[in-house]
């Protein structure tokens, strides 16, 4: 393989030298400070078929130094939620707060400054790098746009440093994206996201388009960078195992809403929402004995159209445990255990019933 990055552990040395790279002062803010926050966010897109309610009432908080995982099927609105944090889509209603400031109605000019504080890594690293620019030029873009370095030599040094942080050789700076492998390109995408020293990095399915072996390398890189630089992530994925591996807290989305949130341990061991339980039952287990006993909960039908979501509980059309009440009431996200919330009228109870069925 053409993955020419260094051995993983070499990076920790780079990371520790990075206190200077990140403005000379290591960031020391009290843990748990909210970096970004969505409050009852709705993002609707008008289409010829009707208004698509991509995101329809999502609230979440990302705290400094943590990884918040966001899982869901395609069409659940998880990517749109991520885009909203950079204000790359316009919210229909609700608020977006970054660093305590309400940025929901910021002008285009002010938003450019916001985009230094919130960075993004895209799913397809090939598509997200300009084919006409060299790797170095792509990574340097945030440095130029936000005037973070003085002159070409300093910029070049900083690009070298960023390449080193993501485990790429400095001489790749003069190459073009098509000369790199998929994993190397995603490392470049990560280096570009790091360039502005953002408070939050939105990782929009950063491993979904990579080979399995490369996926693990990229996840390890992301975790190491987080540990060394104190980064905060919103990790968006449809791969439950990856989210569990990466996240401190996670949220499950279905049809534009968060249906369950909690720690990966809580959700993995004790899912409270039937949708989460169904998703989990689809994850294969490495133990052959357990795998043989694994009961799959097969959901019938497709995800309903976000143009016309079902009334009452949005999941009721596919829920094996749907009851008459579910058509009447739209369940809110309610705390069922400390820090564990689910939007189901029969939280836990329905899951128990499904599993014994």
């Amino acid at each position: 393989m053409s993955e020419r990055q260094r051995a993983d552990d070499q990076l920790s040395a780079v990371g520790s030298a990075d206190g200077t790279a990140h403005g000379g002062v290591p960031k020391q803010r009290e843990p748990g400070e909210v970096v970004a926050e969505l409050d009852d966010l709705a993002v609707w897109f008008p289409t010829p078929a009707g208004v698509v309610r991509a995101v329809d009432g999502v609230s979440l908080r990302v705290r400094r130094g943590e990884t918040l995982g966001l899982v869901g099927e395609s069409g659940s609105g998880k990517s749109t939620t991520g885009l909203a944090l950079l204000r790359l889509v316009d919210p229909t209603s609700g608020t977006v707060r970054v660093g305590g400031e309400d940025v929901t109605r910021w002008s285009r000019r002010r938003l450019r400054a916001l985009r230094r504080r919130v960075a993004m890594v895209f799913q397809d690293p090939q598509a997200s790098l300009d084919p006409r620019l060299t790797i170095g030029a792509s990574i340097a873009e945030p440095l130029i746009v936000h005037r973070l370095t003085d002159g070409g030599a300093a910029r070049r040094r900083r690009v070298d440093e960023l390449l080193d942080m993501v485990g790429l050789r400095g001489d790749l700076a003069d190459r073009h994206p098509h000369e790199l492998s998929g994993g190397q390109r995603q490392r470049v995408g990560i280096a570009r996201a790091l360039a502005g020293e953002p408070d939050l990095i939105v990782l929009d399915e950063p491993i979904a388009s990579l080979d399995l072996s490369v996926q693990a390398q990229i996840m390890n890189l992301l975790r190491r960078l987080q540990r060394d630089l104190g980064l905060t992530y919103l990790f968006i994925a449809h791969d439950l195992a990856a989210v569990e591996h990466m996240s401190d807290r996670m949220a499950v989305m279905y049809l534009g809403r968060i249906v369950e949130s909690g720690t990966p341990a809580q959700i993995w061991r004790d899912p409270a929402h039937p949708y989460t339980a169904a998703l989990l039952s689809a994850v294969p287990v490495a133990d052959p004995q357990a795998e043989r006993e694994r009961r799959r909960i097969i959901l019938s039908g497709d995800i309903p159209s976000p143009v016309d979501p079902p009334g009452g509980c949005r999941f009721r059309t596919r829920c094996p445990q749907a009851r008459p009440e579910c058509a009447e009431t739209d369940p809110v996200l309610a705390e069922i255990d400390p820090d564990h919330r689910a939007a189901c009228l029969f939280a836990k109870e329905a899951v128990r019933a499904m599993r014994s069925a």
């Binding site: 230094r116 993004m120 895209f122 300009d130 006409r132």
Partner: protein
């Protein structure tokens, strides 16, 4: 920046290699090289002065002394054709330059911002586009008065809508690319995105359109000069010489033939090179050849 030149060198090498492989394109390029040499050095290379009237030698057929013959005033046709090459090149370059700069700018803004700006700009372009090329050029010259400069402006205006359309079409597809969104996500301004990301990615169709338009611009200049609206006598221009020669077409064919052949060869050469460039640079063609390479 060095990273830019590396890319362009690679591109340039590919273009040159492709031109060398294609015999038609090679011929076209050679004609263009000759044309440029003659256009730049015409007045020094020409065997005699363009306005050297010699009444004893009038209407001489082609001979060793006058390979293209002489006209009704005994002037050397070869010399006049050579010096006129400069006018044609000048008009072509300047008018296409105007069309490229104005058209690409309008198309860039229209395609990038869409909305009412797009509507207003492109409807104006449609209006210009609706007129027959020559009719519009004649109308503009009629308003501004005949002459070399007004001919350039008129032809430039006439070809602006094509560039606006080609640019806008390219911008519309490029602006939906993820790398443009990525540039927005790092906080790049609209102007920066247009300059650094959009324009370089639509350069290929613009280069092709430029070389093809040069052919048509030179043809238009010949037509304007033929109608007496371009270069004014006694300065030579191919179109004008064609017009002057039309009265002698039965007994002095060389008066019209040689300027006509010059127009023909020049337009053909620009078209051949333009077609070859399209083959190399057009993104769709590129994916086909890439696909062929990857399956081979």
């Amino acid at each position: 920046m060095s990273e830019q030149t590396i890319n362009h060198e690679g591109q340039l090498r590919r273009v040159l290699a492709a031109l060398r492989r294609d015999p038609l394109a090679l011929t076209g390029s050679l004609v263009l090289v000759v044309l440029v040499v003659v256009g730049v050095g015409g007045s020094w290379l020409a065997p005699s002065g363009i306005n050297e009237v010699n009444v004893d030698q009038m209407l001489q057929p082609p001979s060793w002394a006058h390979p293209f013959g002489t006209d009704e005033l005994g002037r050397d046709v070869l010399s006049r054709v050579m010096v006129a090459a400069r006018v044609s090149l000048q008009v072509g370059l300047v008018s296409v330059g105007i069309a490229l700069v104005v058209g690409a700018t309008l198309g860039l803004f229209a395609g990038y911002y869409r909305g009412w700006l797009d509507n207003v700009l492109m409807r104006c372009m449609d209006v210009l586009f609706a007129f027959p090329v020559l009719l519009l050029a004649v109308a503009i010259v009629a308003v501004l008065g005949p002459g070399l400069v007004t001919a350039m402006v008129a032809i430039g205006v006439v070809y602006t809508p094509i560039f606006a359309r080609v640019t806008r079409a390219g911008v519309l597809s490029v602006r939906e690319q993820v790398f443009v969104r990525a540039a927005v996500s790092v906080g790049a301004s609209d102007l920066r995105i247009m300059r650094r990301h959009v324009l370089p990615n639509i350069a290929a169709p613009l280069i092709v359109q430029t070389s093809l338009s040069l052919a048509f611009a030179i043809l238009s200049e010949a037509a304007l000069s033929f109608l007496g609206l371009g270069v004014q006598p006694p300065d030579p221009a191919w179109g004008r010489m064609l017009f002057d020669g039309r009265g002698f077409v039965t007994d002095a064919w060389w008066l019209g033939f040689f300027p006509g052949a010059a127009i023909f060869l020049t337009v053909l050469a620009f078209n051949l090179v333009g077609d070859a460039l399209r083959d190399v640079l057009d993104p769709r063609q590129l994916t086909v050849s890439e696909a062929r390479r990857s399956t081979a």
